[in-house]
């Protein structure tokens, strides 16, 4: 694609040359701000193109272009778009790196195009090392004219500095004030005409450079977004040389290019902040809260002199409100800032890890800048399958990159309940296991006490069942006795029938009791003996009842029945006693 564009540009250029009325730059205004550690460049170009020309080519020395953090092109007032790298056309100097931006243009028409770019790490400290308390000087090199494939008719170049320049070149045509060097009227230049520009000046701003930042954003739909940012930071200014005197540092209040404080601006709802490193809390930070933001003043463990480095971790929590939004069809959208909340730092390498809840699917993201995306998995509390992690990598960022980015994904309610259910399940299983365990017998050697208890248990169970049978027997006897009483002499047949019925019932009960008594015998001879005696007593009662049923003559019957009732009651009482 790029190649095609380049080829096309080349063809267009060739066509323009052939046309003998080449594209040109009528007027260019170049502004370079060196006030902070980020070089901000702003070129306003009045571009006169040829018909059909669809892109504007602009170039920088490769040394600069490689450090370009951000390039924006605006045509007119509203049209803003990114520039794409393009191959340098023929005739370009060897170290030119070019970019192209699509600029639709009519023949002979002039269009104002604004190219703005930021570069990091292009100011070189000179001298490279300074002792404590010495001032930091840096050097900036660029080209005086725009490095351009088009001839330039008029150009001005202005450089804004934090302090007066100690030297600059070329000196002809330049005017210098306390914080500015300007080349107002530079006149004409041919295509690719290049003249080195160099400024050397005092730069008192510390060069805070984060060499690596890993941001982990963990979303929990239970109401929290955890953000943890691990920084490795270095003072990228002129290196410190020689001794470090704490006394002088205290007296001068940290003059020179050193710094110790960083300021982070977090959302106003940020809470549960922590600021620590590998060996514990860094016990010096301050937090202020306002309606707009939470300002955290982070004091590093020690002042960073030039070339010194350190690391730390800043962590905080955010509520879901304002950061996580429900979308149609069960989708959620997470919106957060894409870069570091810390002021005035450039970031060499950024890795953002968005940890979504377990079960999140169909993940899409939208970033304000181009990133390299990857996937990972993270296991944390109560995870079984792991949480999907979206890993976004980008290098060379400036504070201007800190724009919101968003991640969209599907996450259902069932997935939300998965973890509590898991907990409930595990605990239920645990209790169930405990319940089963307590009902199992794992004894290998059965000692006497165990044996005794077991025997008693068994005997009691058997006796229990026996007593049920005997209770039934007592009832049957009572019924038979009542029948005997109520029957008249005349009803011989009836009596015989009742007798038969009672006999059958009692025999059945006896048959049931017999194996039980035998089982009891196996367990406890003593219990079995008393049970047998009791059963025999029952048998005797049976005989008496049956005899009563066959008896004739009311009075005899009456007396026998009364005696029988007493005996029956006694027997039932014995049953109860036996079972206790």
């Amino acid at each position: 694609m790029r190649r095609a564009v380049a080829v096309f540009a080349l063809l267009a250029l060739a066509a323009a040359v052939a046309d003998a009325q080449p594209a040109k730059i009528k007027k260019a205004e170049r502004k370079i701000s060196l006030k902070s550690q980020v070089v901000k460049l702003n070129d306003v170009i009045e571009f006169v193109g040829v018909a059909g020309e669809s892109s504007l080519l602009f170039c920088w020395p490769r040394r600069l272009a490689e450090r370009a953090a951000r390039i924006k092109v605006a045509v007119g007032k509203d049209d803003r778009f990114d520039a794409a790298p393009a191959a340098a056309p023929l005739g370009a100097p060897a170290d030119a790196a070019c970019f192209s931006a699509p600029v639709p243009i009519k023949k002979g028409e002039a269009k104002s195009v604004e190219v703005s770019a930021s570069f990091t790490g292009v100011m070189k400290p000179n001298p490279a090392k300074v002792a404590q308390g010495e001032k930091q000087y840096v050097e900036y090199e660029d080209t005086l004219w725009l490095l351009s494939p088009y001839p330039i008719e008029a150009q001005s170049t202005t450089i804004t500095l934090p302090d007066e320049a100690t030297s600059f070149s070329p000196s002809e045509g330049a005017s210098s004030t306390s914080s500015k060097v300007a080349w107002g009227k530079l006149g004409k230049a041919a295509a690719w005409e290049s003249k080195p520009l160099k400024v050397h000046f005092h730069h008192d701003k510390p060069f805070k450079k984060v060499t690596k930042l890993v941001r982990e954003i963990e979303v929990s739909h239970w109401g929290n977004i955890y953000v943890e940012e691990s920084y490795e930071i270095i003072n990228a200014g002129a290196e410190h040389k020689g001794a470090f005197s704490r006394l002088r540092h205290a007296q001068q209040g940290g003059a020179g290019n050193s710094f110790q404080m960083l300021r982070a601006r977090l959302p106003p709802s940020a809470h549960s902040l922590y600021y620590r490193d590998l060996i514990g809390n860094i016990s010096s930070s301050n937090t202020r809260r306002s309606a707009k933001e939470t300002v955290v003043d982070l004091s590093l463990r020690y002042p960073l002199m030039g070339g010194w480095k350190t690391d730390f971790v800043l962590g905080y929590s955010l509520p879901l409100e304002g950061f996580l939004f429900g979308r149609p069809k069960g989708r959620s959208r997470l919106i957060l800032d894409a870069s570091s909340p810390i002021d005035d730092v450039v970031i060499e390498e950024l890795e953002t890890r968005v940890v979504l809840p377990e079960g999140a699917a169909n993940i899409e993201f939208d970033s304000p800048f181009e990133v390299e995306a990857g996937w990972d998995k993270k296991f944390t509390y109560l995870d079984t399958a792991g949480r999907p992690v979206l890993v976004l990598r980008k290098s060379n960022l400036t504070p201007l990159h800190n724009k919101p980015f968003s991640v969209d994904y599907t996450f259902g309610t069932t997935a939300l309940l998965r973890e509590p259910l898991l907990l409930i399940g595990v605990f239920a299983a645990l209790f169930a296991a405990a319940a089963v365990y307590s009902r199992c017998e794992f004894t290998i050697s059965k000692d006497d006490r165990w044996q005794e208890a077991r025997t008693r248990e068994k005997a009691a169970a058997t006796l229990q069942r026996l007593s049920e049978l005997w209770d039934a027997e007592a009832e049957a006897l009572a019924r038979a006795a009542a029948a005997a009483e109520s029957l008249t002499d005349a009803g011989g047949a009836e009596a015989a029938a009742a007798r038969q019925a009672a006999e059958a019932e009692l025999r059945a009960l006896d048959a049931k009791a017999k194996p039980l008594i035998e089982a009891l015998e196996a367990v406890s001879a003593k219990a079995a003996a008393s049970a047998r005696a009791h059963a025999d007593a029952g048998k005797a009662l049976q005989q008496r009842v049956l005899k009563l049923l066959g008896e004739k003559g009311e009075p005899a019957k009456k007396g026998a029945a009364r005696a029988l009732a007493d005996a029956r009651a006694e027997w039932a009482g014995a049953t109860a006693a036996l079972c206790d």
Binding site: S245, L247, G280, S283, Y302, T380
Partner: protein, 736 residues
């Protein structure tokens, strides 16, 4: 208990749970007041090894040769460390991570000691309930849970061997007594494993392997020895010695050093005594006497030979077969005469009397009462408690550090005392029909009295009351106590009983308040961070140590060698990750002496010594700016003493009579400081205000000047480059 008593069991479990929670949470003041961080010096080493373990695994740890310390000698970590604590924390870490609980290894380490303190309280309950009664057990557990002496070594963050070792110690005793009481082989095995864990955890295992034989001998002498003693003790001697020998740091010491001979000797005596008893059962009286005569003659002959051999072996060794540290215990003057490096550590000094009150408080009063209580009803367990208490008192008198061994003993005895006293008082009150909220006691005898805990504070009083209930018989409370105390009992007068009751509860309350206060104020400081209250109620934090260590970590070459006094060795390797010359594992005195000598020598000589050790950075700790009294100047005489012990050119007298300032050390402390001048630790203006360093260069000084790091110059500054000091100018003028 013959039958299952749900109420008593559940209540006991609940009380133990509360005691465990209290034991854990009383140790969290350090996290609440400061932060979740590793404390002091030695814990940093343990932390570092644990980090290594969690990264590289158990086997690699055994083989780990640490080249970051004792440069250029290095240290074999696996062979020189008691791995119990590290393995414990490492296993907990692995288990947590296997369950996807991503705790950082530091958090695991920080909370290991409080966790094991809770376990220790449970073990103490087990021990005393075996020795005495459940009530006394609960009282002892509650006291152990908050005894300040133990808290001092087991607050959250104090990741030291003692954190798990005290649990291990009490646990060995518990399983030992349990084995004796039950005669169960299962408990004997558990006892063996507990002993193994103890050996893994702490050098203090030699206390166990000497106390248990003493106890067994006492049992033999007092005629209470049974086969169950053998069952408990013999596996410990045979299998225990084998297990101990398999711990690399102990190795053959477990059979070669005098610390273990007592156990072997007792084992022989135990065999002889049991054999005697067996033979006496077999033979008639006359034959038995003849056999005894024969055996005694033979034993005397064999014994003489063995004794000669052992004595010969022992005498051959300059320390009579004892390790230096053990000898320090047997002869308290030994260290100060021969091993200055042991004497230089403040925790190796004998304790002062007030420290007994601070560290044990009510237990100091109650423990002797507990001993008397134990004698009132002397069984196997009670005899053990008495012996444990008495030996521990002796050792605590030798070294402050061993107060830690005394603490559980004192608490167990105190638990017995509290239990007995409350028992007497409560039963007296009941006998008088006093109205007290003791519903369960009112029932008399049986299972009861658990509910009476409501009358007291925590577990202790309730536990004591329960004892009364449990020991009960049908004869009423007099009978209860008679059976407990084993003698006739008359109730105390009512007023005395009430006053006594109030007094005991008051004592226990003041104990609790004292413990919480001490834990919160005295023992929670991590010592790497200092705080000072500010006017607005917040705290100002002095975080200089970590500031300097972080600087070293980030701004020096990873292979840099850093020299400092040995106290800071562990911290430097753990926090700064740089190679140190000497550290807190003071195994090589001459190496430490070399550093001491350098610190005590003039600059040029010190420079040569440090260059010969490849040292690039030297740091000193200087408290003069903020009044931090634990700084190196206050340790300086020890540097001289230890240095002088090996290098005779360093003479302590020089530094006493002339001037401490003749060494490099003073220069490093005072460089550039003269302009401020006043030393707030020692309360005078520094005499030498014109220090100009020629061989060293200030590389970093922390915010409050506590840590001063110097770079050793490649070559010294030339004289011309050095501005002349006022004194030199004066000298030059005088010469002219």
């Amino acid at each position: 208990m013959a039958h299952f008593n749900a109420y008593g069991w559940g209540f006991k479990a609940l009380l133990l749970l509360f005691i465990s929670i209290m034991a854990f949470s009383i140790r969290l003041f350090s996290v609440v007041k400061y932060e979740s961080v590793i404390h002091e010096f030695d814990p940093y080493f343990n932390y570092r090894v644990t980090q290594f373990l969690t990264k590289e695994g158990f086997y690699s740890m055994w083989d780990w040769f640490d080249d970051r310390t004792w440069y250029p000698l290095g240290r074999v970590i696996g062979g020189t460390v008691y791995p119990g604590l590290i393995f414990t924390a490492g296993s907990m870490y692995k288990i947590l991570h296997a369950l996807n609980i991503p705790l950082h290894v530091q958090e695991v380490c920080v909370f290991t000691a409080p966790l094991f303190s809770a376990l220790c309280a449970l073990s103490a309950y087990g021990l005393v309930s075996e020795c005495r009664s459940d009530g006394a057990g609960l009282a002892a557990a509650a006291m152990v849970a908050m005894v300040p002496s133990y808290i001092s070594r087991s607050v959250a963050g104090s990741y030291d061997n003692e954190g798990v070792a005290i649990f291990a110690l009490v646990n060995v005793f518990y399983t030992f007594i349990k084995t004796i009481n039950t005669g169960s082989l299962g408990w004997a095995v558990l006892n063996l494993l507990s002993y193994f864990y103890m050996v893994l955890s702490w050098g203090g295992y030699s206390f166990v392997i000497n106390l248990l034989p003493i106890y067994c001998l006492a049992c033999v002498a007092s005629g209470r020895m049974t086969g169950r003693h053998y069952l408990a003790f013999a596996p410990l001697v045979f299998m225990g010695t084998l297990l101990a020998a398999s711990v690399p740091v102990v190795g053959f010491n477990s059979v070669l050093m005098s610390e273990h001979f007592g156990a072997f000797f007792t084992c022989i005596v135990l065999h002889a005594a049991l054999a005697l008893r067996f033979v006496r059962g077999l033979l008639p009286q006359r034959q038995f006497e003849a056999a005894v005569r024969l055996a005694v003659t033979a034993a005397a002959a064999v014994g003489a030979v063995v004794v000669t051999l052992v004595v010969g072996y022992v005498v051959r060794s300059p320390t009579f077969g004892w390790t230096g540290r053990s000898l320090t215990l047997l002869d308290p003057t030994y260290a100060s005469r021969f091993v200055p490096i042991i004497a230089s550590v403040s925790e190796h000094q004998p304790p002062s009397w007030p420290s007994y009150i601070t560290d044990l408080h009510a237990a100091v009063l109650l423990a002797p009462a507990g001993i008397i209580g134990c004698f009132k009803n002397l069984n196997n367990g009670a005899l053990f408690l008495v012996l444990y208490g008495i030996t521990a008192v002796y050792f605590s008198g030798v070294m402050v550090r061993l107060m830690l061994v005394l603490a559980p003993a004192a608490c167990c005895l105190a638990g017995v005392a509290v239990s007995d006293i409350l028992n007497t008082l409560c039963c007296s009150l009941k006998a008088h029909g006093a109205v007290l909220p003791l519903p369960a006691l009112a029932r008399g005898g049986g299972d009861g009295a658990g509910g009476s805990a409501a009358a007291g504070k925590g577990g202790a009083p309730g536990a004591a009351a329960r004892r009364g209930g449990r020991g009960g018989s049908d004869g009423g409370d007099g009978g209860v106590l008679s059976s407990v105390l084993g003698r006739e009992w008359n109730p105390l007068p009512k007023t005395v009983a009430i006053a006594g009751f109030v007094g005991v509860v008051g004592l226990l309350m003041s104990y609790t308040i004292h413990c919480i206060g001490v834990s919160a104020d005295a023992y929670s400081a991590p010592s790497i961070v200092m705080q000072a209250p500010q006017e607005d109620g917040s705290y100002y934090v002095f975080d200089d140590f970590r500031e300097a260590y972080a600087w070293l970590r980030h701004n020096t070459d990873p292979e840099t060698k850093v020299a400092s006094w040995w106290d800071y060795g562990y911290q430097t390797t753990a926090m700064a990750n740089r190679t140190v010359i000497v550290d807190n594992n003071t195994w090589n005195t001459s190496h430490i002496a070399t550093v001491g000598r350098a610190m005590a020598s003039p600059e040029a000589k010190a420079w040569k010594i440090f260059r010969s050790l490849d040292v690039e950075y030297v740091f000193v700790v200087f408290g003069g700016v903020i009044g931090y009294s634990g700084d190196d100047i206050n340790k300086f005489l020890w540097m001289v003493r230890i240095g002088g012990g090996v290098y005779p050119d360093i003479k302590e007298a020089d530094y006493l009579t002339k001037d401490v300032r003749i060494g490099l050390f003073a220069d490093l402390s005072a460089a550039q400081y003269g302009q401020r001048g006043y030393d707030r630790v020692r309360g005078y203006v520094i005499g030498r205000t014109d220090v100009t360093l020629k061989y060293f260069e200030e590389a970093f000084t922390s915010q409050h000047w506590m840590m001063r790091i110097y770079r050793v110059r490649d070559r010294p500054l030339r004289d011309s480059a050095k501005p002349k000091s006022a004194r030199q100018r004066a000298a030059a003028a005088a010469a002219a």
